[in-house]
Symmetry: C2
Subunit: 589 residues, 2 copies
């Protein structure tokens, strides 16, 4: 086995050329073996095995700089830069991040997991090189899926202004997570069909030099093309054609399903029993898709919109087919998604955009300047907004409340159970008072058939227990934490009031004042950061009073990586025991 002996890229360069196909096979087997056990980005990593080998044969990192866009295709790169055991040794699976991580290796330049940033980052590396009078190569590797993000265009547009060398490798595997969307993919298809010769060439139109390589799995051809570009004195695009899932039939034949795999049987590709990453997510996805399809069938104004992750809102290929032009996937283009939705709403449609919290960050200004400034009647479903969402530092989803809390005129709802979620979603579609966002629960699919339905969710809240001394405002999926805490307090002789505040960013001030009249302590619980969050807003509202103390529980404003959610909460003091003890202490009991 060659891979066992690769401790650095020098070892890759020392191998004879005829050993490389076997090395590629070993890497591919390790990817399949490791992701079969712990899950991961199987298909995208299978596509870049040969490219990673060729890159490390030609360039000398870390002196030369390689930036992998999204960095969810860096498994082979990691194996070739001293981290192979984390992939071939089952006892070390999970030892390295699924994304680039400078803390792991000097060969990784940036922590990154959102798309379309690589060309801009590489422009910065190249400009710094030039003013320092250095001469190494700078390479950005960007997948076709990431090209539809506007930032990639901004990067390419600026790269064309560089008076020095930059290599942009477009790794074209014909897929985003879902099928690609947009004009640029038609251009890539035309370029593939003409072996790069078509006169329609978006890269050349931007002033960039351009080369095409058809077989992105031919190591010798890749090495040859890269050696030609080494030391280039101007920006150049190398467009290579790869196959998502290459070398593994189950992934090759279903690239969308295998974009990110949950543990599976390596020999058959069948998902292991019980091995779904986020069962709660999937259930919320299913009910969302089903409800929206009902709406689409009964209300001609309703349009479901998504940016390259249709599965999060339940839009499977079958549902997309049924919805027709009433479902729009705009591709990886979150900014466009929000402005598009604003245009739809202005013309009288009722759009519902489903998006991960971490990617909604990419459309901050479109939320503020397009959606909210224009008071668009649209619904934004925010998925994964929780400590129980994705646990990679690159994809944290619990920064949403301060983000949406700064949007004038936006109603941000935090349902506590599946019934309330569906009711809020239907309400939002008919609401005519401007945009509504809904924080789709993550932690578990709580069911509360007896939840208190509201005529109008823009104000008011639900009181679940009436007590005295202490009132607990338990936001969204932290309602169960509030219930457990109230139970524990009751065991200590304190009957707490328990409230579902419904609104994540604009607590009902009159009700809060009423609560303060009757209680000595107010506790806020939120599955998000404290800074700029729900609790802070309550604390400020009550701060001028002298008769009530507010205890706020939430997460720290910090990057955490591959954490255990329960441990993270505990480290922030979010446990039934700690909260109970704090309350009892504050009450002087």
């Amino acid at each position: 086995m060659y891979l066992e002996h690769i401790t650095s890229p020098e070892d890759v360069r020392a191998l004879p050329a005829d050993a490389l196909p076997q090395l590629a096979d070993e890497i591919r087997s390790s990817i399949i073996g490791e992701t079969a056990e712990v899950g991961g980005h199987t298909a995208s990593n299978l596509a870049t095995v040969e490219l990673a080998i060729a890159l490390h044969r030609v360039f000398r990192t870390p002196d030369d700089k390689i930036v992998f866009d999204v960095s969810h295709q860096t498994y082979a790169h990691k194996m070739l830069t001293g981290r192979a055991p984390a992939f071939f040794d089952p006892s070390r699976y999970g030892e390295v991040s699924g994304f680039a991580s400078p803390g792991e290796s000097p060969h990784d330049l940036f922590s990154m997991g959102h798309t379309s940033t690589s060309v801009s980052l590489a422009c910065g590396l190249a400009h710094a090189r030039d003013i320092a009078g250095e001469s190494h190569d700078v390479v950005a590797v960007i997948g076709d899926g990431a090209l539809s993000g506007g930032l990639a265009f901004e990067g390419l547009d600026n790269a064309a202004e560089l008076a020095s060398g930059l290599i942009v490798i477009v790794n074209d595997n014909e897929w985003s997570i879902a099928p690609n969307r947009g004009g640029i993919y038609r251009n890539l298809a035309e370029l593939r069909a003409t072996c790069g010769a078509s006169e329609h060439n978006v890269f050349r139109a931007l002033g960039l030099d351009y080369r095409y390589l058809e077989d992105g799995h031919d190591i010798a051809a890749l090495e040859g093309a890269l050696r030609e570009l080494r030391g280039t004195d101007h920006p150049v695009v190398l467009h290579i054609h790869t196959e998502k899932g290459h070398g593994y039939e189950p992934a090759r034949s279903n690239p969308e399903g295998w974009h990110h795999a949950v543990p599976f049987d390596a020999s058959t590709g069948v998902v292991r029993p019980g091995a779904t990453a986020h069962p709660a997510d999937e259930n919320y996805a299913n009910v969302t898709g089903a409800l929206l399809l009902d709406w689409i069938r009964t209300d001609p104004r309703v349009v479901a919109v998504n940016a390259a992750t249709p599965y999060i809102m339940g839009f499977t290929p079958e549902l997309r087919e049924l919805a027709g032009d009433r479902f729009v996937d705009v591709g990886i283009a979150e900014e466009h998604a929000v402005s598009f939705v604003t245009g739809l709403a202005r013309a009288g449609a009722r759009p519902v955009l489903g998006i991960y919290a971490t990617f909604l960050q990419r459309a901050y200004d479109q939320l503020w300047h397009d959606l909210c400034l224009n008071g668009a009647n649209a619904t934004i479903l925010v998925f994964g907004a929780s400590a129980f969402g994705t646990t990679d530092a690159t994809h944290l989803g619990f920064f949403d409340i301060p983000m949406l809390g700064a949007m004038p005129g936006l109603t941000y709802l935090a349902p506590t159970c599946i019934e309330e979620y569906l009711d809020m979603l239907s309400w939002s579609i008919e609401h005519e008072g401007g945009p509504v966002a809904i924080r789709v629960p993550v932690a578990d699919v709580a069911s509360r058939p007896d939840f208190a339905q509201a005529e109008d969710y823009t104000h008011g809240w639900e009181t679940l227990r009436e007590g005295s001394d202490v009132a607990i405002l338990a936001l969204g999926d932290f309602l169960s934490l509030g219930e457990c805490t109230a139970d524990e307090l009751a065991a200590h002789g304190v009957e707490a009031t328990l409230v579902n505040p419904r609104l994540a960013t604009s607590p009902d001030e009159a009700l809060l004042a009423g609560l303060a009249e009757k209680h000595r302590v107010v506790v806020t619980l939120e599955d998000g950061i404290l800074d700029g969050g729900f609790g802070e807003r309550c604390a400020r509202t009550l701060a001028a009073r002298g008769d009530v103390r507010t205890l706020c529980y939430g997460l720290e404003r910090a990057f955490v990586d591959r954490y255990d959610p329960r441990e993270l909460l505990a480290s922030c003091g979010i446990t039934v025991e700690k909260i109970t003890a704090d309350v009892l202490g504050t009450l002087g009991r």
Copy 2:
């Protein structure tokens, strides 16, 4: 005078063709006359007079939909849709917004002032039209300056997928605010040089149909081209060549200076004595440029970066020349600017990015995912973050504290005077603890040569007066408000402690606790929204204590338009008298 009789687009369509040149002259005179008195976007509006006439001759708004990108070139459109008196009648100057405004007219579809949104908004209008089975035309008018924004690319990329009609007019006047940057402008130049025939064509490469019109001031030619496109069944780009400042020599010969004009003598183009829009801005710009040029000359790592508004950080054409490749204008591409700066920092450079608060919103995810996640040693200078900045709803700058307050690891400083600002800026360039943002003061150029310099601005604050009972934390340019309030309290027998907290998003908790020990009331003052702001964070920090009350003063989370800053503050209770009365009341005096 024809213009007096134009009360709706129907009147424009009723005019004989030979009357149109005079109508254009009248519109142009009105633009010059009105902006000479009250200031405004002179040059961009002079370029679109003939286009607006032709659009309203061919299309029938509001049934047909026209979206003007940025909407700072809509003066002629406004005059032709019933709002001419606001431009030709001096007694009505300032009656209409300088941007599109649906509240003014059904012919304006969106409030908008940030660039690059029009194609996405138009895609939404077109898709809503299609699912409703309607058949009107949808037109986006986008300037060349706005094309470099990634959202414009996302819009064009998605427009190419439309199976129905959409017209995108590229109004190419060869200028952004400053000279255009990036590969797409070289492509536009090549298309102009070849009358649209070059095989390098970014629009065609994306799959869009494309037409070129050389003389964008020839009304008949414009009408002809638009009539051909009317009712198109597919997306098409019409590229027209116009001249920024057309018909007014002073603006024509200096398009950058005349992008947004302050009141001037219409006959000579000379700025009126004392008529500078933001004297404080200009002074902060000058000192910023001068200090950065010093740094550039003495430290080879320092790079100044900007996104199409170099003047805000003092980089006049002369300074840009002196700075050479140590100043980079990335064009209208704020996302790229932040990722580029992250790349520069990773390679050891020390970048300083100057940007308006309202435009920094466009790079929220790049701040979070690139700059902060990677702990880049970079400085962001945030301009216009104040109620005293731009007063158009589209460009409000006082939402910055909650935005930057959600960024892990970012230090956000709020200097109180010019000396402290410059000291913080120099400190930030040498700081190695991750990104630093600085809230450049707006309200006035306060001078305090005896400000307390810090060795390390990541913690600590400055106490200006020691008192008892009440402590005032006066953030940034609200220090003078704090001083006046302390004086007024003293007149009522209350000696207040006055603090410059320096840090806008992470108040020093230990110092806050110490303050609470010695005072019964803490007052926070900030020139920004309360929700998610500085005061709220202080209130939460103190909320668990029973011995201190916190009174927070700041702005409401709301869109306000063309407001008087003093009146806005007063409406939010931010006056010396109100704050003093509140404090005395809380103290029971």
